[in-house]
């Protein structure tokens, strides 16, 4: 538990390095919601394979390093209604806002984008209020 922040920092550096490669080599902003969303709604048709290749990397690398760990519990809820509601909110919300934790957060704030800061403050505050509401007041999560 005490070393969690070190792993967080190391993982964060890897995430940022991925974003740096995607920007400097491919000339693209590493925003997960934009990369996925462009495939789903067809707006990213022209860069389809680049998006699929990126997502394949995100999907596959954890499988490669997974065996190093004896067990990983993601502690995800088994309440499907909560998962579906949350998935819909994340899907619609990130696309309306044009970004999520990676696009607005990591890439936006690091270039001192005002929109990145505003979006990040908004989703962290909403997430905090959401957890208070749904966990402490309503007890659904």
């Amino acid at each position: 538990m005490e070393q969690d922040w070190i792993w967080g920092l190391i993982g964060g550096l890897l995430i940022g390095t991925g974003g740096a490669v995607y920007l400097l080599a491919n000339g693209r902003i590493m925003g997960a919601s934009g990369i996925i969303g462009g495939l789903v709604d067809g707006s990213g048709r022209d860069t389809k394979w680049e998006r699929i290749a990126f997502l394949a990397g995100v999907f596959l690398l954890p499988i490669v390093i997974y065996p190093v760990y004896s067990s990983i519990d993601t502690h995800v809820t088994d309440n499907w209604a909560v998962l579906i509601a949350a998935g819909l909110l994340v899907g619609v919300g990130t696309r309306i806002a044009n970004g999520c934790t990676s696009g607005h957060g990591v890439c936006g704030m690091s270039r001192l984008s005002l929109r990145g800061f505003v979006a990040t403050i908004a989703y962290i505050m909403a997430g905090g209020i959401g957890v208070i509401l749904f966990r402490h007041l309503l007890g659904v999560i």
């Binding site: 967080g8 000339g27 997960a32 919601s33 709604d41 949350a86 994340v90 936006g108």
Partner: protein
């Protein structure tokens, strides 16, 4: 070559999300839960990720084109509009509810179990209907 580098970048992203613990929903909800057993890990992940990314933005300014050709993304718009706030608030609620956001939802599909697929498919459905939602929002007067 573009696809190879995209795969490499995605691999770093996926590995980083996994190692940092960001595919563990309890760590994300633990960060958001300021009245519970608060978990600061996410701040280290975000801070760590912004270091190489900030350097990348500085390097970007010294180059006219990306290494593999094409062009760099245009400067970000600075307009704070209703959609940015409304969308981010919706996203935040969903993020708090499940403890998942788009990147980690992909990174955890292979080992997280069926719940992660339920979330992922619902997220795709949400993304698929967004163009219609956006048209609906654009018809409302922007007073909100």
């Amino acid at each position: 070559m573009r696809n190879l580098f995209a795969f490499f970048a995605g691999g770093l992203f996926g590995a980083g999300l996994f190692i940092s613990g960001m595919t563990d929903t309890s760590k994300v909800q633990g960060w958001l839960d300021v009245f519970g057993d608060w978990d600061p890990t996410l701040a280290f992940v975000m801070g760590g990720a912004m270091i190489p990314m900030a350097i990348a933005w500085i390097l970007r300014n010294r180059r006219s084109t990306p290494a593999l050709g094409g062009s760099f993304p245009p400067a970000p718009p600075q307009r704070i509009d209703r959609n940015l706030i409304l969308g981010s608030v919706m996203f935040g609620f969903g993020w708090g509810l499940a403890g998942l956001c788009p990147g980690p939802s992909v990174a955890s599909l292979s080992y997280g179990g069926v719940g992660h697929w339920v979330f992922f498919l619902a997220m795709l459905a949400g993304m698929a209907v967004t163009p219609a939602v956006r048209r609906m929002l654009d018809r409302q007067p922007a007073t909100a």
